[in-house]
């Protein structure tokens, strides 16, 4: 008899999976169906965070060990990229067994322990679920290629020709030439939207749908708070389409949502759909129901435009994309981010904008990957503290729940000499000690070397050094996260751009009931004046949020502010009655 911790196994041609009841169950936080609308997310790679067993790779126990740090920082929810068993040819997104934790990270029981420890601190945990494809080493695929007529023969998309679905674009243009790859065992082509070692599951097979719903139930039963659904637009294929955002895909996601609502209320589904906002809103589902598909979706096109706007010292790249962003259903939320474990993706920009971004932010070709830029926030901004703060302030104040990428809160840099996207996945820099305090392993054994750059290296940039000084980026970030938490408007407020004749200044109001926040951002490196039309708020008194400093009361005349280069203000607007 197979041990549950060893995951799935093949028994007489049938792939058998463990059940949630084989494991413990984490304590559950009180049901709150909208917690994600207010949450600050933190993306952390298990491998990169903290190593407790000295093997040079981070593990689940390491994450548990550092939960106090994340609680101190003010994080509401961890997002863990995949930690499932995997041959690791795509950073774990090539899943070999949905029911097993990658052994170097720990076990399913360790994960339950992490969930429990996080919940104890009021921190939720979501993880990536790759629904579109598996590793070619997944037993389903092995059975499928071995036995075309067996129970798994139809689990993947097979074809005698490589000419079908010709309208679907190739996503990983650096490595792939076709979405079809010939399998010498089955002597057919199999379909893959990503790497050729990641065959796409065949969602037209009801059995595949059932299998994936079982995977979802398994982890939710253990207590996980939700999933980031990876590569979600590509589940189905239809001839004559680009095979993205198909109605069948939306129908299946609605089924997933129904299970969550009925069996696991308060857990979330977050869509990773790198598409235009007008297409992405489809993933929220029916607005009349408040949303009946995914609770959240990433807003991809916003991020490159923040970079573009600051480099051009013009708000219009941001204004444009926000003006093109349709309203979303009441119980939904955007996820916004500046950087994540992938490249800074430039798929949702025009050719001209892409050339511009490469020229400005990736002067060295090594900084580029696929259609994007593989660099970290501080490095992209030339380690300019003012700019890092401005970007972070935008992240925390624009509409959506912010996702902070691990290490960006201390201003970690990247290592462009590492292959693929490993350059932005180096170990968390905890201390100036050996291996950045990340691991006690022999330095040669660490999965990738910690950053040793003169400016960004762990001797200069680490948590220990920054935690004890109030002037550091780390403490500044913590303060701003705390300020954000005090104002409902940042989380669920309406968004209204205020315009103004100075194109370098982006000013907007966030409003949730009586909570009114005014954000004024100088995208230029030079000092700038701005006259804002705030006549609708005549009589109100702006109170600066970090120091509670009262500013002159708003009158009928344009409200004049001056900002230092890359400076910004957050104000709450106090009602006239409260001023007295």
């Amino acid at each position: 008899m197979q041990q549950p911790a060893e995951g799935s196994h093949v028994h007489e041609g049938v792939v058998e999976h463990p059940a949630a009841s084989d494991f413990g169950q984490a304590r559950i936080l009180p049901t709150d169906r909208n917690w994600f609308q207010r949450a600050v997310f933190y993306e952390v790679l298990v491998r990169a965070f903290y190593d407790t067993n000295d093997d040079g790779s981070g593990d689940l126990h390491g994450l548990i060990r550092q939960l106090d740090y994340l609680e101190w920082l003010g994080i509401d929810c961890l997002w863990l990229p995949p930690f499932y068993d995997s041959p690791l040819r795509d950073g774990g997104y090539d899943i070999r067994d949905f029911y097993k934790v990658l052994p170097e990270f720990g076990t399913v029981d360790d994960f339950v322990e992490l969930l429990d420890a996080a919940h104890k601190r009021g921190i939720r945990v979501i993880t990536d679920l790759v629904m579109n494809h598996t590793s070619d080493q997944h037993p389903w695929f092995q059975e499928s290629r071995r036995e075309p007529d067996g129970p798994y023969g139809d689990y993947y998309v097979w074809s005698d020709t490589d000419q079908r679905y010709a309208d679907a674009r190739i996503i990983f243009v650096d490595t792939e030439e076709s979405n079809w790859t010939f399998d010498p065992v089955r002597r057919q082509f199999f379909w893959h939207r990503f790497f050729s070692h990641q065959p796409d599951l065949n969602y037209d097979n009801p059995q595949v749908q059932l299998e994936m719903l079982n995977v979802i139930r398994f982890w939710l039963d253990l207590g996980i708070d939700g999933f980031r659904l990876d590569a979600v637009p590509y589940l189905f294929e239809r001839e004559g389409t680009n095979c993205e955002n198909l109605p069948e895909t939306h129908a299946f996601l609605k089924t997933c949502r129904k299970i969550v609502d009925e069996e696991f209320p308060g857990r979330v589904l977050l869509a990773e759909a790198n598409q235009w906002p007008s297409d992405v809103v489809e993933y929220f589902g029916d607005p009349d129901t408040g949303g009946d598909e995914c609770h959240m979706a990433f807003h991809f096109p916003l991020m490159p435009r923040i970079f573009m706007a600051v480099r051009r010292e013009s708000r219009f790249p941001i204004s444009e994309i926000l003006a093109q962003t349709p309203p979303i259903p009441a119980n939904c939320q955007w996820g916004i981010f500046l950087r994540n474990h992938d490249e800074l993706t430039l798929e949702m920009v025009t050719d001209e904008e892409r050339d511009y971004m490469y020229a400005e932010y990736a002067k060295d070709p090594r900084m580029r990957a696929n259609v994007g830029i593989r660099r970290r926030l501080a490095a992209l901004l030339d380690n300019d503290r003012n700019q890092v703060e401005l970007f972070t302030a935008l992240l925390l104040s624009l509409p959506g729940s912010p996702v902070i990428y691990y290490g960006d809160e201390i201003g970690m840099g990247d290592n462009i000499w590492l292959g693929d996207r490993d350059g932005v996945r180096t170990p968390m820099q905890w201390t100036p000690d050996r291996n950045a305090g990340f691991s006690r392993a022999n330095p040669g054994r660490v999965y990738v070397p910690p950053n040793q750059d003169a400016v960004f290296g762990y001797q200069a940039v680490n948590v220990e050094a920054q935690r004890d000084s109030s002037a550091t980026l780390l403490n500044w970030t913590r303060t701003m996260v705390a300020v954000r938490r005090r104002h409902e408007a940042f989380a669920v407020g309406t968004f209204q751009e205020l315009g103004g004749s100075n194109p370098s200044v982006l000013a907007f109001l966030r409003q949730a009931g009586d909570d009114v926040v005014l954000c004024v951002n100088n995208l230029s490196r030079f000092p700038q004046p701005i006259e804002l039309n705030l006549a609708d708020w005549a009589g109100y008194e702006p109170i600066e949020l970090t120091g509670r400093v009262p500013f002159p009361r708003i009158g009928q005349l344009p409200y004049l502010l001056t900002l230092q280069g890359h400076g910004f203000y957050w104000f709450r607007l106090n009602r006239p009655a409260e001023v007295e």
Binding site: E353, S504, S524, E531
Partner: protein, 441 residues
């Protein structure tokens, strides 16, 4: 009787500052609401024998918010006090309501555009910083532009905005309505127009100088290397201008005619009086004008006074605004067809100003000038590329004609700068020399 003669000269839009005012009298009074809101036409007579007509909306005994009493108080007449009604919210709202209902009051006709929806219940505020008109913004969505100096005839701003809006052009603030009247001689005249208001907009001048500021702050980088590169915007602006030209030609027609070379040489002669340094360049300048030829070119309605300050960047589009031309010149002249190249030249000239303006008041550094020229060339090329991509013809192909229009504009600028801003005079003079040098190639 209200003290107009004292009040008028303090208003920013008053154009008679260089002249001696003799009298300012009401020549027509139209009640608009009970006894507290009325429209007046003023005849302003000058000592030089000339006169101008101004219009006013007057609110009686209704002071605006405190901040505006100083600017809005016209004065007392008997026991009543008259205020500029545009600053009084209920009065401003009433004017918009009259437009919405298509009202007629005496000789004043208020006309909504077909299908237009007007924010009649909205709050209002007078916009700052206007030179010749006064604009009231309603609810961040609509704008009432009141022409201060009025003349017989349809104001080209209203005329062309109506044509462009009805043709569905995305490059103007859509017209929503208008107010017309008649002068004492019985001739119709445009008084005001209502358009959509682009709340989130910045003008092309602010956008372009943001870019040149960035350029000058970089020690070594060139115009195509700096982050503040403006050429993508210039390209889109070129597309927008060409699109407006095409719509105007389609809607109002075009016809071949000789280029207005005589006007150009006349302007040059007049400018020499203000800028003596032009005299030595007059011969060469006339050659440039003559090189533009007498063969007939396509003439049509154009903007007429296009520069970066007359275009607005919104999140969606570039908009062209202020089609009224120079308010000091007669309306018939302002409505005269001309070559689209005049507008193109206006923008090209404006690029030079955007680049050089930041250097005004400093000792000239040739290295900065050189880099400014690279910026100008890059943006001119991008603008012309954008224009050509929509128009189908590249303005640079009509090299001699374009040079004549640019030179004409530079000559006008030189005269203006010599009178008003002598420290800026070097900008057009430098351009004139460049254009004359090109002319001899």
């Amino acid at each position: 009787m209200l003290p107009f003669a004292e009040w008028l000269p303090q208003q920013r839009w008053y154009a008679g500052r260089q002249r001696e005012l003799v009298s300012a009298e009401s020549v027509a009074i139209t009640p608009l609401h009970d006894h507290d809101l009325e429209h007046r036409l003023l005849l302003v007579s000058y000592a030089d024998g000339g006169s101008e007509r101004y219009q006013l909306f007057i609110a009686w005994d209704q002071p605006p918010a405190d901040e505006f009493t100083a600017v809005a108080t016209i004065g007392a007449a008997g026991d009543r006090t008259g205020y500029d009604a545009l600053f009084h919210e209920p009065a401003a709202r009433h004017l918009l309501a009259l437009v919405a209902e298509g009202a007629r009051r005496g000789e004043l006709r208020f006309t909504p555009e077909p299908g237009a929806s007007l924010p009649v219940a909205a709050g209002s505020r007078v916009m700052d910083a206007e030179q010749t008109n006064t604009s009231v913004v309603y609810d961040r969505t609509a704008l009432l532009k009141v022409f201060r100096r009025v003349q017989a005839g349809i104001n080209p701003d209203l005329e062309l905005n109506r044509v462009l809006a009805r043709a569905g052009s995305p490059h103007v603030a859509k017209l929503l309505g208008a107010i017309d009247g008649v002068d004492p001689e019985g001739n119709p005249m445009s008084l005001a127009m209502v358009t959509e208001y682009a709340e989130n907009a910045a003008d092309g001048w602010a956008m372009a100088t943001t870019s040149t500021r960035d350029l000058f702050a970089e020690a070594d980088l060139r115009a195509d290397e700096v982050g503040g590169d403006f050429s993508a915007e210039s390209h889109r602006l070129g597309e927008a201008v060409a699109s407006v030209h095409r719509t105007l030609a389609e809607e109002l027609g075009s016809a071949p005619a000789a280029p207005p070379i005589e006007t150009m040489t006349d302007r040059l002669a007049a400018a020499i009086e203000a800028v003596p340094a032009l005299a030595s360049r007059a011969g060469a300048a006339r050659k440039v004008f003559e090189a533009a030829g007498t063969s007939r070119i396509r003439m049509q309605r154009i903007h007429g006074d296009l520069h970066l300050g007359q275009v607005l960047r919104t999140p969606e589009h570039w908009l062209l605004i202020d089609f009224e031309g120079e308010p000091g010149t007669p309306i018939a002249e302002r409505r005269r067809p001309d070559s689209p190249l005049r507008d193109v030249a206006g923008v090209l000239r404006s690029f030079e100003y955007a680049a050089y303006q930041l250097l005004v008041g400093e000792s000239v550094e040739e290295q900065l000038i050189y880099r400014a020229q690279e910026w100008i060339a890059r943006n001119e090329a991008a603008f012309c590329d954008g224009y050509a991509s929509v128009a189908g013809t590249d303005p640079r192909e009509q090299k001699a004609l374009l040079a004549a229009y640019e030179l004409d504009k530079a000559v006008y600028e030189a005269a203006y700068e010599a009178r008003h801003r002598p420290s800026w005079l070097w900008i057009p003079m430098r351009s004139i020399d460049r254009l004359l040098a090109v002319g001899f190639l």
